[in-house]
Amino acid sequence: MKILIIGGGMGGTILANNLARRLTPELRSGKVKITMLTASEKHMYQPGLLYLAFGRVTPDELYKDQASLLEPGITLVVDPVEEFMLDDNRVKTKSGKTFDYDVLAIATGSRPVPELIPGLAEHSHTFYTEETALKMFHALRAFEGGRVVIAMGVPHKCPMAPLEITFMLHDYFKDRGMSDKVQLHYTYPIGRVHSLENVAKWAAPEFDRLGITYETLFNLKEVDGAAKVIRGEEGGETPYDLLISIPAHRGMEVIEKNKLGAGGWIPTNRQQLNMEGRSNVFILGDTTNIPISKAGSTAHFQADTLGENIAALYKLGAPVRDYDGKVFCFIEAGKDRATYAMFDYLNPPDPKPPTKAVHWFKMAYNKLYWISARGLL
C-alpha cells in the first residue's frame, strides 16, 4: 500500500509518524510505503510567533529540520504539489515529478490573506508569519503611546490568538511603564468578545478589569491609513494609532487552483475525515471545511484518528473510529497566567480562571511540541 501525505506541518508530521509506528514491520518489508511531499525543509512551530512579536523567543527557536522530526522509513521529498489528479490517484509536483498512491492525506494548512481588505497589509501589524511578527516586534518597541486597536478577519487560525495578543499587549505596555499612555481597543466579528460563549463570559470582565475597551459585531471592511481609521461592514468605524490585525485566512492556492474546495477549504466528512465523494483521500488540519477551530490541536487529534484508521484500512480492511471534533486550546491571559478550553462536537468548553501553572504548562508545551510532532506525546 502506498500512502502519500501532502504537507509536513503539524497534521502531516503527526500522521506520518503515527502511521510509521503502527506499520513498522510493513515499512521494513516494503509492503507499505509512506511518502511525504512538503513545501519546506524546515518545520515551523507557528504558535511561537505570538512570543516572537514580543521578543520573548528568537526566530531560530521556531524551526527544526523536517527530516529530523520523521520516523525512519518515511520518505521525505521537499517538492510542493502543484496538480492533484485524484481520478488517477496521482499528484504532480513543482519539479514535474508524479507520485501515485493508494491512500492520500492532504494537510497543506492555511495562510493569512491581508490583501482581501483594502489597506490592511500596508497599515496593520500582524504576527502570523515570521517576517510580520518581527516587524511587529520593532513597531511595538518604537511605539510611544496612543490607541492600539486589535481587529481580525474571518476565518482565522488559532481562535484564541485574538484574546492572547490583547492580554499580552496589556502586560507588555504595563511592564514598560506605559499603561497610562496606551489605550487598548479590541474588536470582534460577532456579538460577544469570543466565539466560545464561556470564554467570552470570562474574557469580557477581564477586559473591563484591565481597562481594555471593546466593540463587537465589527467585521473589517477597509483600513484608511491616511485618516488612521478602520471601518467595519456593519457601518462602524474606529480610530487607531497602532493597528494589530489577524487577517482572514484561506487554504493554500494549490487547493483552489485544483478546484478541490472554494477558498482552499476541502469538503471533508466530519467524522471519517475523508474528502467528500472519495474514499481513499483524507483531509486534516486547517484545510478541511469542518466548522471547528483551525488549530494545531485539531490537526493533532485528527492525525491520531487517521493514523489509527489508515493503519486499520491496511490491516482490517476498514476504519475503526470516528473523529469526535475534539479541540484543545491554551489561552494566555497575560504574560504569566493562562487557562485553556477543551471541547468537541457535542460538549462546549468550561474554562477555569487563569493560573500561573497553566501558563508554565503552555511554555513547557512550546518545547515539548517537537516531541509531540514526532508522535510521542
Binding site: L116, V154, P155, P159, P189, I190, G191, S195, L196, E197, L217, N219, E233, E234, G235, A248, A262, G263, R270, P291, I292, S293, G325, V327, A341, F343, Y345, L346, P348, P349
Partner: protein, 76 residues
C-alpha cells in the same frame, strides 16, 4: 449564476455558526442563497441581526428536529 449553498455549522462551538456564515458569505457570489444549519438556538437571533446590520437579505428560518435552518441572500 446564483447558487444555493448549504453551510453545515451543526456542532460548531468555535468558530460557531455566525462566524462560519461570515467566512463563507465572502466566498459566495452576489445573488447566492445560503442556508446555514445550526444546532445553537442563539443563531436564530444573532444571525438575522448581523445579516440585517450588514445589509444582506434575511429570507427566514425554521427549526427541524433541533436544527435551525437559516436562509440568507448575499446582496452586496
Amino acid at each position: 449564476m446564483a447558487e444555493k449553498k448549504v453551510i453545515d455549522a451543526r456542532g460548531s462551538f468555535c468558530p460557531g455558526p455566525l462566524m462560519e456564515l461570515i467566512g463563507w458569505i465572502k466566498l459566495a457570489d452576489i445573488g447566492d442563497e445560503l442556508e446555514l444549519l445550526s444546532s445553537d438556538k442563539g443563531s436564530a437571533e444573532d444571525v438575522p441581526e448581523w445579516v440585517k446590520k450588514v445589509g444582506h437579505e434575511y429570507l427566514g428560518s425554521r427549526e427541524e428536529a433541533g436544527v435551525w435552518h437559516i436562509m440568507v441572500k448575499k446582496t452586496k
